[in-house]
């Protein structure tokens, strides 16, 4: 531990008076998007023809005829799978920044880091397999 020194290599732009000005294009973008949506919707409501029919008023289910009510209880297994999907999906997102900075990392360091990360994911995967979370007939 003796080789450790206090090093602060944190560098970031501190806030200057015109700092928020950098976000002006973003604000303009939001305003234009909102205005465009408003104009298009109101135009179609004002100018477009209105011929409502029973078929049109039905819920859209990819072209299929809707059957029954959508509001009935689903098996809890669906929620479990959905939660697991979100978890692993979010964890997989971290591959992107890793791939982006990979070349700037010390040799093989980035590789082992990601191996470690996948190892941790693997523990989680084995855990849920063993718990039977993916066993549909359970």
């Amino acid at each position: 531990m003796t080789g450790l020194h206090s090093h602060r290599y944190y560098t970031s732009a501190t806030m200057s008076p015109g700092y928020l000005g950098n976000y002006a294009p973003l604000l303009i973008h939001i305003l234009v998007a909102m205005a465009l949506a408003g104009v298009l919707l109101s135009l179609s409501a004002l100018v477009g023809p209105h011929r409502p029919s029973r078929e049109k008023a039905q819920a859209y289910e990819c072209g299929m005829r809707p059957t029954g009510d959508a509001r009935h209880p689903f098996d809890v297994k669906f929620y479990l799978v959905a939660i697991l999907f979100i978890l692993f999906d979010v964890e997989a997102i971290f591959f992107y920044p890793w791939a982006y900075v990979y070349r700037n990392l010390p040799r093989l360091f980035g590789f082992y880091e990601m191996l470690l990360y996948i190892g941790i994911l693997l523990v989680g995967y084995i855990y849920l397999l063993k718990k039977g979370a993916l066993d549909w007939n359970k």
Binding site: M1, L4, H7, S12, M15, V123, I126, Y127
Partner: protein
């Protein structure tokens, strides 16, 4: 352990890695327990506890190697290892070890003995250690959430008990809400400072005028979030329900370790970013402290459930600790650190007695369940007396020394009114702590069976008692240990 292994394989880790090694060790064991749990049958689940204790031990060893460091920051200044972080790290590890020792028998009786319990406890401890060591808003927030999420699950661990589910739901809803407010406050701090680094934010706050609305809103939101986590009035409503519903050993952990971790967060933020605007919050924190002592101490009087009683008492203790921050002197900070250290042992000890009362078919959380403990299990009754004396702050126990430093710091800084309040509230505290003792010592047993003490529980109880008595009679060593926190750079800067 990890480093030896890797260096034998010829791999060199970055030097910075040693700074987070305590957390990494805990992480390895937490993941390991999740897997080994599948290999163990019902009878041999206690191996999980052994593994968890080993994890705490290795983590402690790694932390011990860091004890002489002075303010080393790493990972782009997102963590800083200083005596403050090391002190709190030891505190969390001690608490985790005690809770593990107390849990084995308890979980067997509850029929919920699973490896996940220990894994989650270790993960919560990782979160706490990052709370103590973080010097960056992102690290702090992640640490807080790691801790809080683990505790939400642990609170609801007794799946078949209604109170446990209720407590967990209340905790997760209110906790998520408070985290949201805290995150909002953090975003404002980032907006003001232009950086997530606390030192930089402190500079920016010093340059702003104290009456700046942005500064005030960030102060209010961050304080609300942190006060919720330490269960200070008026953000204390969740505490009694969560404490009552959670498994008793987890209640001990929430009231001790989670509180200490949130105090570490509070001190880190208030003594860096918010220090320049101290006149703005000094009276508010004093008000919150007095309100906490009032609600905590008077609320506890009418409780008949031991866990609820201890929940209110812990709200009162938070009030005392906050007074140390109001004083803002070296004695005040030393007082908070020492108080928290003592609190680990005395409060865990008190909950350990409640755990002893849990038997097959008996919940054992009502104050009536203590009746006649002196004839049923004299040792437990005597230990209960020691813990209650310490909680009330009576010499020669360590609880007295903790309160002494708080009073000292208040008088040094001329806060006589606050000191009088704090002293007066010892009276109701004595009343309800002694109500507990009276039930154990002077009521008829009423046919209740003799509580058994497992070896692990015995070790935990002995450690708690020994510390309270030794630190009460020969406090110098422990005061010095608590005093090391003052050498941290962020406290040095404001105390200069």
């Amino acid at each position: 352990m990890v480093q030896d292994l890797l260096s034998r394989l010829g791999m060199q880790l970055p030097k910075e890695f040693a700074l987070i090694l305590p957390q990494v060790q805990l992480g390895i064991f937490a993941l390991g327990i999740l897997l080994t749990d599948f290999l163990l049958d019902r009878k041999s689940r206690w191996w999980n506890a052994v593994l968890a204790l080993a994890g705490v031990g290795f983590s402690g060893k790694a932390l011990w190697n860091l004890r002489n460091l002075e303010d080393v920051s790493a990972y782009h200044s997102s963590i800083v290892v200083d005596p403050f972080a090391v002190f709190f790290g030891f505190l969390f590890l001690i608490s985790a070890a005690l809770v593990i020792l107390l849990s084995v028998r308890y979980l067997e009786i509850e029929d919920e003995h699973h490896g996940e319990f220990y894994a989650l406890l270790l993960l919560a401890t990782i979160g706490m250690m990052f709370l103590a060591t973080g010097s960056d808003l992102i690290t702090l927030f992640l640490g807080l959430e790691t801790m809080a999420l683990s505790f939400y699950v642990l609170t609801g661990f007794l799946r078949h008990r209604k109170a446990s589910n209720e407590g967990a739901l209340k905790y997760v809803l209110l906790g998520a809400f408070s985290s949201g407010i805290l995150a909002y406050g953090f975003s404002l701090m980032y907006g003001i400072g232009g950086s997530t680094n606390l030192a930089r934010i402190a500079q920016a706050y010093a340059e702003r005028s104290p009456g700046d609305p942005l500064v005030l809103i960030s102060l209010v939101t961050v304080s609300a979030g942190v006060f919720f986590k330490i269960a200070a009035v008026p953000f204390h409503m969740w505490a009694p329900d969560v404490y009552e519903g959670a498994p008793t050993s987890i209640t001990a952990s929430i009231s001790v370790a989670s509180k200490a971790a949130s105090f570490a967060l509070l001190l880190r933020i208030f003594c860096t970013a918010f220090w320049p605007i101290r006149p703005n919050w000094e009276m508010v924190v004093a008000g919150v402290a007095v309100a906490s002592m009032t609600i905590g101490n008077f609320g506890a009087i009418t409780q008949s459930n031991l866990k609820r009683l201890l929940a209110y008492s812990s709200i009162g203790h938070v009030g005392y600790m906050l007074l140390g921050l109001v004083a803002g002197t070296p004695d005040g900070f030393k007082g908070i650190a020492f108080y928290l250290l003592v609190y680990v042992f005395m409060n865990t000890g008190a909950f350990a007695i409640v755990i002893l009362l849990r038997r097959e078919g008996v919940i054992g959380e009502d104050i009536e369940d203590l009746n006649g403990l002196i004839s049923r299990r004299p040792v437990a009754a005597i230990l209960l007396l020691i813990f209650m004396l310490s909680l009330a702050g009576i010499p020669p126990t360590a609880g007295f020394i903790g309160k002494y430093f708080i009073f000292l710091s208040l008088i040094e800084t001329g806060h006589y009114v606050l000191a009088v309040f704090a002293a007066l509230y010892i009276a109701p505290a004595l009343y309800y702590y002694f109500r507990v003792v009276v039930h154990a010592w002077m009521r008829e047993p009423g046919g209740a069976a003799r509580p058994t003490i497992s070896v692990a529980q015995g070790v935990a109880l002995a450690a708690c008692t020994l510390f309270i008595l030794v630190a009460g009679l020969l406090p110098d060593r422990f005061i010095n240990f608590a005093g090391t926190t003052l050498q941290s750079q962020f406290l040095q800067m404001i105390l200069r």
